[in-house]
């Protein structure tokens, strides 16, 4: 090792688990479909207890939807009929609580799904925007901190402009159970996008569906280096803020659109330095 380096430095020093494409399914959302009211969109989520690597060499006994924390990206177009099957293969009762507009009996609060049983959530997807879902079993804090959450995108009837679309769910893991997160990250593992920068093209808008699901900490944030972006809170209107930093409480989310002015390597991270140095930082590799 030549002189002092830091985990924020690029290169072989960055400690992150997984390979270069192991988070692809979480980073890249399914393709949007054109508006067609009444079309059925079906997803199946299996809840299971699973040990996941949340930082290089650190294994966490997580509760997951489909084996990852965050769970899979659910996408629908407004007025689609969304049908989500929950199979509980875990050892605790779970639910799925979606953010959005839906009937009271589809809210994932009262219809507890015991281990070994299942439940199907069915409701029209609305309103358009960046939504999210998470387990609402008690103790709530435990069920969220263990990893039962994910991104839920509802596309507007009028399609959004074509863009390079990414999903970023802000995550934290309390591996020693002391009520404080030991590791932070985007879509799971600490420092993942520092080790494997996200490649984007300058010629096309980068659209990020962003949601904060970290437990224990009051807020989380997203900060981009070297550029500004349009931030659409909750993504459900045309109203946006032009900025380089946004702050989110748990459950808060929105859509970010970046038109990169320059090529090169640009950092993005939480603007809580502590989170940054505990894994919540990464890079965009902007190419022409």
């Amino acid at each position: 090792m030549s002189g002092p380096t830091h985990a924020a430095m690029v290169g072989g020093e960055v400690p992150a688990p997984g390979g270069p494409d192991s988070l692809d399914a979480l980073l890249h959302p399914p393709k949007p479909l054109p508006h067609k009211p009444g079309r059925v969109r079906e997803y199946t989520l299996v809840a299971s207890d699973r040990q996941i690597e949340v930082a290089k060499g650190v294994f966490f006994n997580a509760w997951t939807y489909n084996g990852t924390a965050p769970g899979p990206v659910i996408r629908a177009t407004e007025d689609d009929l969304l049908r989500v099957n929950l199979l509980n293969g875990g050892s605790h009762p779970h639910t799925i609580h979606f953010h959005g507009i839906h009937p009271a009996n589809m809210d994932g609060v009262f219809e507890i799904v015991e281990p070994g049983s299942s439940f199907t959530y069915e409701f029209p997807a609305r309103p358009y925007g960046m939504q999210l879902y998470h387990c609402h079993s008690t103790p709530l804090k435990k069920h969220i901190a263990k990893g039962l959450y994910g991104a839920f995108i509802i596309d507007p009837p009028e399609p959004r402009r074509p863009a390079q679309e990414l999903v970023m769910v802000l995550t934290g893991f309390d591996t020693d159970g002391d009520g404080e997160n030991n590791f932070y990250g985007v879509n799971g593992p600490a420092f993942y996008y520092a080790k494997y920068p996200i490649r984007v093209r300058r010629s096309q808008t980068v659209r990020i569906y962003l949601a904060n699901l970290t437990e224990f900490d009051l807020i989380n944030s997203f900060h981009l280096h070297g550029d500004f972006f349009r931030y659409y809170p909750t993504g459900s209107s045309d109203h946006f803020e032009y900025t380089d930093t946004v702050m989110l409480c748990q459950g808060q989310r929105g859509i970010i659109e970046i038109d990169f002015a320059n090529t090169g390597r640009f950092m993005f991270h939480a603007h809580q330095s502590e989170f940054t140095e505990l894994g919540w930082m990464g890079f965009f590799e902007v190419e022409d």
Partner: protein
């Protein structure tokens, strides 16, 4: 013996072979349990999961580098996964294995530009995600084992150990002029100060062992130290007694008793030197002039304790006195080296246990001497007053170093 063997129907000497029987049976039972043990445990519930705590023994600050010495105190293996400094994940390398078996240690080396005098909290996280932290109140550069620091610790040990004892021996001419009543009063004072040191060492040992991982069995370690030095010195005093061709069981006196006192005080100074050395090494102790002076005043009475029995005996040469000063004070140097360069709480517990046991044994020897020689015996006012004065003197001078 022969009668018992005959009664048991054994050939002479065969008892040694038969002694192996329970051991062989034990091996058999252990093997049987080990092969079926887990299913047996299932009957009464499962074993709790491992705590996965590291034991961080020592954090050293070197130029652009922090070195963390970690031990695995538990039975299951522990793997070093990530390292943090002030809640930030940092790159590191490990000198030694990353996966630690029980009571095995490794040194984690973190390249880090630390700030002098700033507090730091280092954390080591195992592969199961459990984080162990260690807070350093102020970062001070840890000197390696250079000839300069070697000399430095030796000088500190010399100043707080050898010098005050040698100075205290200067009371010898004055004591020679004093009557037996006064000499025995000073011997009682020696017993008083040794009582103080014994309790002090025992308290230190108990304090230190409380921080040890349970695997080290701190209380047992203290008992081992106390018993070893107490019985060791009992054996030595017996040899002295025989060498002096006194009747069996007679109390020691003169140089022999002084030597025993010196050994007892020496073992205490070993522990004291260790405590001072490790405090300096860990940046917990700012060893100013005042503290050095404090230790000198505190320890000067130790010389008096050695001088008192000599005053009541035959004259001794200067070289013999120097040797006694070295026996009583020199261990402070050795202790400072060990504390400064190794810093082992395990050794600390053992040493303080040894010190307590030695002091106790010497109190017994001094007591027997005083009982025999003091006009009026142990109940005379001079003796009681001297004993209490010894405790008071140690308490008051102790305020200088507390």
């Amino acid at each position: 013996m022969a009668r018992t063997e005959a009664a048991a129907g054994l050939r002479p000497g065969a008892w040694r072979l038969w002694a192996l029987l329970p051991l062989l049976l034990l091996i058999g039972v252990v093997a049987l349990f080990a092969s079926t043990g887990t299913s047996l445990l299932d009957l009464v519930g499962r074993a709790p999961p491992p705590v996965d705590q590291f034991d961080i023994r020592r954090v050293e600050f070197r130029p652009d580098e922090i070195r963390i010495r970690v031990t695995n105190p538990q039975r299951p293996k522990l793997t070093i996964a990530t390292v943090t400094v002030d809640d930030a994940i940092v790159p590191f390398r490990v000198d030694g294995p990353r996966e630690l078996g029980r009571l095995r240690s490794s040194t984690i080396v973190v390249p880090f530009q630390w700030v002098e005098d700033d507090p730091y909290t280092v954390g080591v996280t195992s592969s199961n995600g459990i984080q162990t932290t260690f807070a350093v109140p102020a970062a001070v550069e840890t000197r390696g084992a250079s000839s300069k620091s070697f000399l430095g610790y030796a000088l500190i040990g010399f100043l707080v150990g050898v010098v005050p004892v040698a100075l205290g021996l200067g009371w010898l001419p004055s004591l020679r002029g004093a009557g037996l009543r006064w000499i025995t009063a000073f011997m009682a004072l020696t017993a008083g100060l040794l009582s103080f040191l014994a309790l002090d060492a025992l308290a230190e040992a108990l304090d230190l062992q409380a921080g040890l991982p349970s695997g080290f069995q701190g209380p047992g370690l203290i008992l081992l130290g106390v018993a070893t030095s107490y019985l060791g010195l009992t054996y030595v005093s017996q040899r002295f007694s025989r060498a002096g061709r006194r009747e069996a069981g007679a109390p020691l006196e003169g140089v022999a008793l002084a030597t025993l006192v010196a050994i007892g005080i020496g073992l205490h100074n070993l522990g004291e030197g260790l405590a001072i050395g490790s405090s300096i090494a860990l940046g917990e102790l700012a060893l100013g002039t005042f503290l050095i002076v404090g230790f000198m005043v505190h320890n000067v009475t130790e010389g008096l304790g050695i001088a008192a029995p000599i005053a009541d005996g035959a004259r001794v040469g200067l070289s013999r006195l120097a040797a006694l000063a070295l026996v009583a004070g020199g261990p402070a140097i050795v202790g400072a080296w060990i504390g400064g360069f190794i810093t082992s709480d395990v050794l600390g517990v053992l040493f303080f246990g040894l010190a307590a046991g030695a002091a106790l044994q010497v109190i017994v020897e001094v007591g027997r001497y005083v009982a025999r020689r003091a006009p009026g015996g142990l109940r005379s006012g001079y003796v009681i007053g001297g004993y209490l004065a010894g405790i008071v003197v140690m308490y008051l001078t102790g305020l200088l170093v507390a």
